[in-house]
Amino acid sequence: MGVNLQVNVGGLIMKNPVTVASGTFAYGQEYDQYFDIAQLGAVTVKSLSIQPRAGNRPPRLVETPAGMLNAIGLQNVGIDAYLRDKLPYLREKGCTIIGNIYGHAPEEYAELARRLEAENGADAIEANLSCPNVHDARTVRGGALVAQAPERVAEYTRAIKAATKLPVFVKLTPNIIDIVEPALAAQEAGADGVALINTLLGMGINPETRRPILRNIVGGLSGPAIRPVALKMVWDAAKHLRIPIIGMGGICSAADAMQFILAGATAVAVGSYSFRQPDAALRVIQGLEAYCQRHQVEDIRQLIGAMEA
């Protein structure tokens, strides 16, 4: 049986619903050594900023039970080097590209989106409004992240939407009471989709040295450990949104991805698990196709939000 895996994520056509999470796939080239990355529904690149960023000082990562903490701090080559050095490879391969962007103000996001569109640097924009490792989440109280304040989410989204015709996805944080609030704010401000979730704030201490394990003290928790949390947020958001959701958080297998799709995600991203298994996203695609065949589902879109409560 032929299975249609193609989905339309707020105007972005993906040949299958599987992308990779920003920051867990760099700019694609490294993992192209292990499998043909053009098979992905889309490649989501590491957050890009206007200037290159050195990121936080090391140590920047530590394993945790069924997950990991990272405090990379958005180290990236900057938009210029991306367009010059990284983009050609992805375009040559024929990849669909989601350009994840990060800035210090709405204008910076707008500028990044404009450049990506103008220079064919992406087929959709994902605005990272929720990185726990850049705003000083260690000391600022009461919500340092844009994605924790619905009115700021709206403001940023409007600025980006005004700057580009590309589909715009807004990436939100799980460190919040009700994910529906910033998600609705994004939708009302014109976002074409939301990406759920970024990492959860966490930390670790080495009891022997009595020092924090990460130099930045605080980092973002990812991996299978957080999957149940991510799934709940996707399900919550799906009940209230018209725009599509890209679900992520601990996805390792097609069975995991199916949970997110059934909860209401139109597409999914494989994140940290690629570190363990570089071709994990490809296996998810293959597994989704096999799932549809086994269940005689001709079009995967029939499964979006199809959980029977």
């Binding site: 490294e30 292990y34 990991m68 990272n70 990379i72 180290q75 080559v77 991996g223 363990r276 570089p278």
Partner: protein
């Protein structure tokens, strides 16, 4: 180019208390591997431990490679429980090898503790390719953790011992032994061991005008340059980056490149 494969464990033995040598059948890996490169080992199926574990390649054989490792936590403990005949998922070879340039007067290897792991392969290559059997300083806490002596002697290397407790060789740090060997301009030193040992080794070499290559350690998630988790701070910008990735830009670095003040 690195690849990932299930490899059969052909030998697995305890070579000292809590220290193991593990040999896997991996012909393709053996063909591509260079001394100083490493592999990411998937200790277990399932989600625990979540990440692979980096291990230097100890020796390169015709049809496989060996690793030499110390049990320090749960991952290495689980690894040590694997038996000959079982399959181990191996990703590699990864990272940049030790530069092997001719034209130096002297080749010295200096290893602290389990830092000895990458050197049997290096000494073998230096001997075969350049006809130079390096001098080797093996340092450890105490005598029974002085590993690989026989391998080096068989290659014709001169071996110096240093122990913290004086149970064998000099009661000294590796860097002190190195200093007494009087490295100079024209000497190349290869170092691997705890950070303070490599920092001291760098200082000795810098003062003497010797070239020093060190294999660094860092916590790794991907092992392949993707996650940017394993960086160390560089003195100069490398390809526009101030942070260099131990996994991809290293693990072997010219020690002049590293900002040692942080350690």
């Amino acid at each position: 180019m690195p690849y990932i494969a299930d490899c059969r464990i052909t030998t697995h033995q305890e070579v000292a208390p809590e220290h193991y040598r593990l040999v896997v059948h991996a012909p393709q890996l053996a063909k591509e591997a260079q001394p100083g490169q490493f592999c990411m080992l998937q200790v277990r199926e399932g989600h625990y431990p979540f990440l692979r574990r980096p291990m230097s390649i100890e020796r390169i054989f015709a049809d496989g490679v060996s690793f030499l490792y110390k049990v320090v936590g749960e991952g290495t403990r689980m690894l040590s429980g694997m038996s000959q005949g079982q399959m181990l998922n191996v990703q590699g070879p990864l990272g940049k090898p030790f530069p092997r340039e001719s034209g130096f007067d002297r080749y010295i290897i200096t290893a602290g503790g389990i830092g000895i792991a990458p050197f049997p392969a290096l000494a073998d290559a230096l001997k075969r390719e350049l006809g130079k059997a390096p001098e080797v300083i093996i340092a450890a806490r105490t005598e029974r953790f002085l590993l690989c002596e026989k391998d080096f002697r068989q290659m014709g290397c001169k071996v110096h011992f240093a122990t913290d407790d004086g149970s064998a060789g000099e009661k000294a740090f590796a860097s002190e032994v190195l200093k007494r060997l009087s490295p100079a301009a024209g000497t190349v030193v290869y170092a691997c061991g705890p950070m303070p040992m490599m920092k001291a080794t760098h200082a000795v070499c810098a003062a003497a005008g010797a070239v020093c290559y060190a294999s660094l350690e860092a916590e790794m998630a991907c092992g392949d340059g993707v996650c940017l988790g394993c960086v160390v701070e560089a003195n100069v910008e490398v390809e526009t980056e101030r942070m260099v990735r131990v996994c991809k830009d290293g693990p072997v670095f010219d020690t002049q490149l590293i900002q040692w003040e942080s350690y």
